[in-house]
């Protein structure tokens, strides 16, 4: 048994951490946090140069042709660094949708552009409140044009193209849904930036009005593709969340060691020690669940749906828990804008919603466990 990343993968992680420590300091993150830039373009370019954007993209499409395990270790570092770039929407959502369902031409057009940092992609799925269910997709596709409004779309304001979920039938079944590729710089697209909880990752409303779009995958296959995309993204996001949780824990630990009150390191008070121990416990459970998700993802195992849901839930809880209590360990200073704690608190709470709510994934997990048991 080797339920761990390989030495090469760990080297890649170290490399990514080193790169991000240099290029993505909290100070750099704040440029985006404070609204001085929509995302960190230099960092994005650097990530492309390092080969991180295309790590899981096959070489024939301009990528490094490594695999999802390599992508997982990079995801973890992106989470640690709270990187203000459209990594998850472009790499986990758009690129994975293309890899699963894209035609050769579509892959050739977009994947090399993703790998090189030239194209930012996203998934336009949600239409206001609600979770990923077919019935919530109301935007229509007919005669090759889309009409409707998507909101929120992660990184929608900076994306070059989007994978759009559209309704092409009205049977009330999953095969009413089809996917389309849309060039967001084209006609019939109106993009509006939305204020959101985590300013380091933009959200947008995108209106499509008689917008030309090309099918991605077969008509009626949309929901089945989406389910696969979301499961993959759940695992990859879980690694970002684990990275964020670990960093929040580390910040809390460091502060507890450095800070003196009542003549002692505050980390010598059991209230603080045990809070940090509990953070470690949830971060560890999340990491282990995520490793299992990574294994399932990398081997395309039948266990992926269940493993993805478990990783998603566990990592969401851990990141929220660690980010919240990191502030508490810091006391008043943790509640200042100046300290970095709130960046992780914002990211943790935003990531908890991005692929659908925790409640939704809990429900999914039980369904999937039942299916497995029935099988």
């Amino acid at each position: 048994m080797n339920f761990d990343f390989s030495d090469d993968q760990k080297q890649l992680r170290d490399q990514a951490r080193k790169f991000l420590t240099e290029k993505c300091s909290p100070k750099a993150v704040r440029v985006v946090l404070d609204g001085r830039a929509p995302y960190d373009k230099a960092l994005w370019k650097g990530l492309a140069e390092m080969g991180f954007l295309g790590v899981a993209i096959p070489e024939e499409f301009g990528g490094a042709g490594a695999g999802h395990l390599e992508l997982c270790v990079i995801a973890e570092e992106m989470g640690r660094a709270n990187a203000p770039v459209p990594f998850s929407s472009t790499v986990y959502l758009a690129a994975e949708a293309l890899l699963i369902a894209g035609s050769d031409a579509q892959k050739k057009k977009w994947l090399p552009a993703i790998a090189s940092g030239e194209a930012i992609g996203t998934l336009a799925l949600f239409e206001g409140k609600g979770n990923p269910w077919p019935k919530n997709v109301k935007l229509t596709a007919a005669n090759g044009v889309l009409n409707g409004v998507k909101k929120p779309v992660a990184d929608g304001a900076i994306a070059d193209f989007a994978v759009v979920a559209a309704r092409t039938g009205s049977s009330g079944r999953e095969n009413d849904i089809s996917l389309f590729l849309v060039d967001l710089k084209g006609a019939g697209v109106e993009v509006k930036s939305l204020t959101n909880l985590d300013p380091t990752r933009g959200q947008a409303e995108i209106s499509f009005k008689d917008c030309k779009a090309e099918p991605l995958g077969a008509a009626g296959d949309g929901w089945s593709i989406l389910t696969q995309v979301l499961d993959r993204a759940a695992v990859l996001c879980a690694f970002e969340q684990v990275g964020g949780a670990d960093r929040a824990l580390e910040m809390g630990r460091d502060y507890a060691l450095d800070r003196i009150a009542f003549g002692r390191q505050i980390g010598s008070f059991q209230a603080i020690k045990h809070m940090l121990a509990d953070m470690y416990v949830s971060a560890t459970l999340a990491r282990s669940n995520s490793y299992y998700g990574a294994w399932a993802l990398s081997t395309n195992a039948a266990e992926l749906p269940e493993a993805a849901a478990a990783a998603r839930i566990s990592a969401t809880q851990a990141f929220q828990h660690c980010a919240k209590n990191n502030i508490q360990v810091h006391g008043g200073m943790g509640f200042t804008w100046e300290f970095d704690c709130h960046m992780y608190y914002r990211r943790a709470n935003a990531m908890a919603l991005g692929l659908g709510s925790l409640t939704y994934w809990e429900d999914q997990l039980i369904d999937r466990m039942r299916k497995k048991n029935a099988a």
């Binding site: 409140k129 609600g130 959200q203 507890a256 009542f262 929220q320 509640f335």
Partner: protein
């Protein structure tokens, strides 16, 4: 057991209600009623001006700082009358926010320790809201360890010269006066070398800088002191007795914080009552109901705990540190409630533009403000210590710095 007023209380309530009915700024009532944690503002008016006007009106008619003696601008009311007033004042009470520190903490400290001439001069305009006060205790190095403060006061003739930095000073930018805790002798153990003063916040050398909070708002300030001079007659209590003086202030803080602490539950229940989830009304979803029920009994438990405290007041008893549970329970609860309210919206919960302000925005504001609630006026951990030590009689933490001269206490944990 009843919720009824005594005849005397009923009479007082009727008088108060009639006056409020006739005089309150009704045009803001709705807006004030709806405001929740992290967001008390008025759309078309400056809330500070509205608040000052309402306070002055109350003072002119004898309704300000009810429990203070009349000669200092109060009404000489009993504690229970003060509670009845607060109940009747209802949403307009939210306008008193900017006076809480002054009325709740600075006033009582002045009353206990200032010279008679100062009390007569400073307290009435404090009661009427014409002068705003702040409290300058916390420091970056102190935190929960309030007595670990480093701001120096050095005697120079009849004056004291102040140098140092305070933090978490609520409303310092709007304040005219402040009470200030300083270190006058760093060579003795930390609780023994402190001295309290009050000062004019417009004194030369006082600089107020707003702190931007994690939530983006700025409710607090840093205050820097550079060679600020305070006359000795503005000293409160003896030199070296500042810690005892500050206990008066802090005890009053806890009494004023206990009541009406925000849990987020009414907002969530209201939200869930109309929200439609993917598979039906939220209020019919068994998972939602289980969550709501658990929060409901915490919210009602806090409500009736506060009723019990008021009943004790009504009988002339003094509510104890039991009140600390309000903030302890509500702080974490509002954080959990807000998180859950966003979760119920799915991915859309992340959005918080003006168009979503009434719903998502409201809970996002709670989520971002809640970490502050769990810290201000005593962290959750300090609250648990207070309950354990003062209510249950458990031993204090081991104090390694108890007999150590202040300037020998380490200041850095590593390296």
């Amino acid at each position: 057991m009843n919720f009824d007023d005594t005849p005397q209380e009923a009479e007082f309530r009727a008088t108060a209600r009639a006056w409020i009915d006739a005089n309150a700024p009704k045009q803001y009532e709705d807006e004030l009623r709806k405001s929740s944690l992290g967001r008390t503002q008025l759309k078309n008016a400056n809330i500070l001006e509205v608040a000052k006007a309402w306070q002055k009106k109350k003072a002119d008619a004898g309704w300000a700082c009810l429990h203070w003696p009349k000669e200092y601008g109060g009404r000489g009311s009993s504690p229970i009358e003060r509670v009845i007033w607060q109940q009747e004042e209802g949403p307009f009470g939210k306008l008193s926010h900017m006076f809480i520190i002054g009325h709740g903490m600075c006033g009582p400290t002045m009353m206990a320790f200032a010279r008679e001439e100062h009390k007569r001069a400073y307290l009435p305009p404090l009661a009427s809201g014409e002068k705003v006060w702040c409290q300058l205790f916390s420091e970056p190095a102190g935190g929960s360890d309030v007595a670990g403060l480093r701001t120096r006061a050095e005697k120079d003739g009849d004056e004291w010269v102040i140098n140092g930095q305070k933090i978490w000073t609520s409303g310092a930018h709007n304040s005219d006066y402040g009470i200030l805790l300083t270190r006058t002798d760093p060579t003795v153990p930390k609780h023994k070398g402190l001295t309290m003063f009050f000062l004019d916040m417009k004194s030369p050398g006082v600089e107020v800088r707003p702190i931007k909070q994690a939530s983006g708002a700025s409710d607090f300030n840093e205050v820097y002191f550079t060679n600020v001079r305070i006359p000795d007659h503005q000293r409160l209590g003896e030199v070296g007795d500042g810690w005892n003086v500050s206990l008066t202030t802090l005890m009053n803080e806890r009494m004023s914080i206990g009541a009406g602490v925000s849990t987020g539950f009414p907002e969530l229940f209201e939200y869930c009552s109309s929200l439609i989830l993917d598979d039906g009304p939220a209020i019919e979803d068994r998972a939602v109901r289980a969550k709501l029920a658990n929060w409901a009994v915490k919210a009602s438990g806090l409500r009736y705990t506060s009723m019990r405290a008021i009943s004790a007041l009504s009988k002339g008893e003094r509510p104890g540190p039991e009140n600390s549970i309000g903030k302890l329970v509500a702080g974490s609860m509002i954080q959990d409630v807000a998180t859950y309210a966003l979760d119920l919206q799915g991915a859309a919960g992340v959005v918080s533009g003006p168009e979503d302000a009434e719903v998502a925005g409201r809970f996002q504001a709670m989520l971002l403000r809640a970490p502050g609630t769990r810290v201000e006026g005593g962290t959750d951990e300090i609250m648990r210590n207070i309950i354990a030590e003062r209510v249950l009689g458990l031993p204090g933490d081991i104090r390694v710095d108890k007999d150590v001269p202040f300037n020998k206490i380490p200041t850095k944990g590593r390296g």
